[in-house]
Structure formats: structure tokens, C-alpha cells
Amino acid sequence: MKKVKTGSVISHTYLILLTFVSVFPLVWILISSVKGKGELTGNPTAFWPRTWTLDYYIHVIKDLNFFVNIKNSVIISLVTTLIAITVASLAAYGIVRFFKKLGSAMSKVLVTTYIFPPILLAIPYSVIMGKMGLINTRVGLIIVYLSFSVPYAVWLLTGFFRTVPVEIEEAARIDGANKMQTFVQVVLPLVAPGVVATAIYTFINTWNEFLYALILMNNTSKMTVAVALRSLDGAEILDWGDMMAASALVVLPSVIFFCLIQNKIAGGMADGAVKS
């Protein structure tokens, strides 16, 4: 009995330590972004702000026009997510239900896409997008984003669709529903929580993406948040307070949404990966 107790004390101590390290950067971004003028450089080790201010946020949003970049990112991520989830739901369901033998080969092809170096794809993407006149356009970036969002989503969704018992579908089929009706009216509602989680995960990944946005968007007004943030680095007019305020605006949506779906994603990854 005593042994169990020491074990859990050690576990708690370890976890508290890890939690502190995990959370510190986020906390430090938030605190740094609201500290009064001069405090960031005046007293680097002070934790709590002496005076509070939203000046950095106002500067970033008003003078740097950061809202334009937020808008770009929201549009690009939303459209990518919508397309990717539609395509991936159909594919994942198809793989699980209609391809008993080929399904595992298809999953393997998808796994292969995960090992493609993004830097390898970046070169042809930039050449092709240049030829098609899609550099600095949202359409161009959305197309490129499907390259990682679709395979990921199929991976996660395969795990969720596999949990649907085939008997339920057979009942619907007997009632005269065709494949597509069965899918939309019977199967999708059953896996809705998984689909939502996958959609949010896709959204976060697109929102966070950096490399493709770097090579395809070089006009400040077209940039996504990740690349716009990077262009702030080293700019003379900025101090760390501005950079932390902008960082907070970019990281908070990701973190909040991610915390909401974390349980679903973990299970989905394991199921989609292993049993295929």
C-alpha cells in the first residue's frame, strides 16, 4: 500500500515539473504582451506586470494591419478544412467499407505521403504555382494545403469510421437507401464528433503552417499570420512587447481549440494508424 503512494507522489512531482515547462512559454507570451512600457527590458526576471497595458495589441492591430493577415489565415484555413474534410470523409469511409483487400494498400499509399519532405514538394509547388499565376493568391495556397490536410484527415477519420457497426448500415440499405444516402444520413451523424475533431485539427495545422506560406506568399497583404509574424522579426519599429502581442493573437486560437479536441485526436491517431 505504501509503495503505491510513493509512486504516485513521484508521478505528481514529475508531472507538475513537466506541466510548468510546457505551459511557461504561453504564460510568458501573455504576461509579456500586457506589461507596461519599459518593464520588459527594465526588469527581465519580474513575473507579474507592475502596470498593465493593451498598447502592444493596439499597435499590432492598428498600425501593422495584422487583422488583414488574420483574415487571410481564417479564410485559407476554413476553405482548406471544408474541402479536406469532405474529400477525406468519403475516402476514409470508402476505404473502411468498400475496399476489403485494396483498403490496406490505399492506407499504405497514404502513409507514404507522410514521409514526403515538404521541402521536396516546395520546389515543384512554387514552379507550378508560378506558371499558373497562383503565387500570392489564396487559391494557390489552399491547393497546396490539401497535400497534407487530406492524408492526415483520412488517417484520423479511418479510425472513427471503423467504429461504426456495419449492421446499422445494412438496416438502412434494406430500407432502400443507396450508398451515398446511407453514408450521409446514417454513418456521418454517428461519427460526427470524430469528424468535428478532425476538422478542428485540420484547421489548426493549416493555421500553423509556415514553409509553403513562406514560399508562396511574399506580399504582406496576402500573407497568413505565420509568415506575417515572421516578417516582424528583426523589424526596427518593433519591440518584444509587440511581437508577444502578435504571438498571443496567433497562438491562442490554436491552443484553445486543441485542448477541446485532444482526447479524440489521440484515439483517432492510434486507431487509424494501427489497424489499417
Binding site: 510546457s22 527590458t41 474529400v87 514521409i115 514526403f116 519532405p117 521536396l120 514538394l121 489548426i204 492510434a270
Partner: protein, 293 residues
């Protein structure tokens, strides 16, 4: 019956089109470019055979980057697995506060790379950074430590940041794998007088090794391919000491404009990763066969 086989393709067709258009076509053009003198700012190019590959192999910068990549991958992966695994075991062990810990521990996973870069560059800043100053204040260091401006230190710091970022994913997946291990098997092992490490080896490991194995494959590839973190935190510096293959290829393509040679580098990178994955998958398939016996 014929109709049934026909409509099922409609489900997978859109995804297949995307995979072909966004993977097959680009890899083919990359391979093609790698045999040409294609330049980012010139329209015409001609075939030059294996010259790009020869040039790449002759460049000591390439081999140095390759060595950095290996070091970066092995150290980051080992760190992520150790931290992720121990965290998962600790979470499995406790009864209260599990959900809270888990939610807070996965926060790094959600960080965009640019924010990882900004936040750590700020925390580690050589003049105003929190960590250097607190180490100075506590008397642990005599001068303000420079985490990102000296070669070896910058490399270690990058690996640490990568562990911070990647461990949560390992943790979450290992934890969900641990939870699939039937409790009665542990009880049976205990009745048989198994020590803790024995029940770990004979009960836990066989249940989770498939998930963990696959995770290790994917993690290896992701870490090897990582561009953002290094590019944004050190840019490959100071003096090339943190330059890995993806950065080498990027500089070749976008700074020196040599698309052809850059393609050769990325094709080599891809071949290397395929070989690594081939080995991994051979091992995993072996496990699978053993399991089904």
C-alpha cells in the same frame, strides 16, 4: 454486383486525384529538375545528367548538413520518446488531476512554429531573456548564458525546444495505447509473481509496440524533415552550426536560385527517408506476423 464495384470508386476518387496531383506529379518533376540546370529566375534549362548529384556529393557543406540532420533527429527523437513515455507512465499511475495535467501538457503541440520560435527566442534572449537573467540572479551562471549564439549551445537548445514541442504527441499516443492493455493481464502477471519490470516487458510492451513503432517511424521522418523550427530560431547559424538538410536544400533553391541542384538534394533526402522507413516497416511487419501466429 457490377454496379456495386463501380460506385465504391466514387468515394475514394477525389482523394486519389489529390494524391496524384499533389504528390506523384511534383515528385516526378523534382526528379526531372534534378538532372537539369534549372534556375529559379531563368526560364530555360537543359539536361546536364548526373552533374548536380556529383556537385552535391563533392560539397562538404552537404555532408556537414547531413551529419547535423542525423544528430538532430537521433537526439530529438530519443528525448521526445523518453519524456513522452515517462509522462504517459506517470499519467497512467495517478488517480486525481489526470485530465488537467493532460490538457496543460499538450499545449506545446498546438504551437505554430513561428510562435515557438518567438517565445523561446524571447525567453532565452541574451540580454533581456527570462531564463538567462534568472540563472544569473540565482548565481547558477556567472555571466549571462548565451543559448542561441554559440554553435554547440545553439544546437543543444534547438534539440531541447524540439523535445518540448514533440514530447506531448508521443505522450498522448502512448497513453491511449497503455489504456488498451487489459487490466486483468496485469493482475494475472501479479498473481504469477511478476516484478514490475517483468509485467512491463511481458504485458505492456507487446500491447503497445505497434502504436509506438509506427509513432517512431512518423516522428523520425517529421523530425528529419523539420524546416520551420531551425529556420525560424537560428536560421541554420551561427556559422552553419545548426544547418540541416532541409535548410541546405532551401538555401540552395531560394538563396542561390539553383533549383536543379536543390532538387537533387531533396530527392536524395527522400530516398534516404524511404530506406529508413523500409527498414522500420520490415520490423513492424515482422511483429505483425508474430502477433497473428
Amino acid at each position: 454486383m457490377a454496379k456495386k464495384n463501380y460506385t465504391r470508386w466514387l468515394f475514394v476518387l477525389p482523394a486519389m486525384v489529390i494524391v496524384i496531383a499533389l504528390f506523384i506529379y511534383p515528385i516526378c518533376s523534382s526528379v526531372l529538375y534534378s538532372f537539369t540546370n534549372k534556375n529559379l529566375i531563368k526560364a530555360t534549362y537543359k539536361f546536364i545528367g548526373f552533374k548536380n548529384y556529383v556537385e552535391v556529393f563533392k560539397d562538404s557543406g552537404f555532408w556537414l548538413s547531413f551529419f547535423h540532420s542525423l544528430k538532430w533527429t537521433v537526439l530529438s527523437l530519443a528525448g521526445q520518446i523518453v519524456v513522452g513515455f515517462t509522462a504517459a507512465m506517470a499519467l497512467k499511475r495517478i488517480e486525481v488531476g489526470k485530465g488537467v495535467y493532460k490538457t496543460l501538457l499538450i499545449i506545446p503541440w498546438a504551437f505554430p512554429s513561428i510562435v515557438i520560435a518567438f517565445s523561446w527566442k524571447w525567453i532565452l534572449n541574451g540580454v533581456y531573456g527570462f531564463l538567462p537573467n534568472i540563472l544569473l540572479k540565482l548565481g547558477i551562471c556567472e555571466t549571462t548564458p548565451q543559448f542561441l549564439t554559440s554553435g554547440t549551445m545553439a544546437f543543444i537548445t534547438l534539440v531541447m525546444i524540439n523535445i518540448w514541442f514533440g514530447a506531448p504527441m508521443i505522450m498522448v499516443n502512448v497513453l491511449s495505447a497503455l489504456e488498451t492493455v487489459p487490466r486483468d493481464q496485469y493482475e494475472a502477471a501479479q498473481i504469477d509473481g511478476a516484478r514490475p519490470w517483468q509485467s512491463f516487458y511481458y504485458v505492456t510492451v507487446p500491447h503497445i509496440k505497434m502504436v509506438v513503432g509506427l509513432l517512431v517511424v512518423l516522428r523520425t521522418v517529421w523530425i528529419f524533415n523539420n524546416f520551420d523550427l531551425i529556420y525560424l530560431i537560428t536560421g541554420g547559424g551561427p556559422a552553419g552550426s545548426t544547418q540541416t538538410i532541409p535548410l541546405y536544400a532551401y538555401n540552395m533553391g531560394w538563396s542561390t536560385k539553383l533549383i536543379g541542384r536543390s532538387s537533387a538534394v531533396t530527392v536524395l533526402l527522400f530516398i534516404f527517408l524511404m530506406i529508413i522507413c523500409g527498414i522500420y516497416f520490415a520490423v513492424i511487419n515482422k511483429w505483425e506476423r508474430e502477433e497473428s501466429k
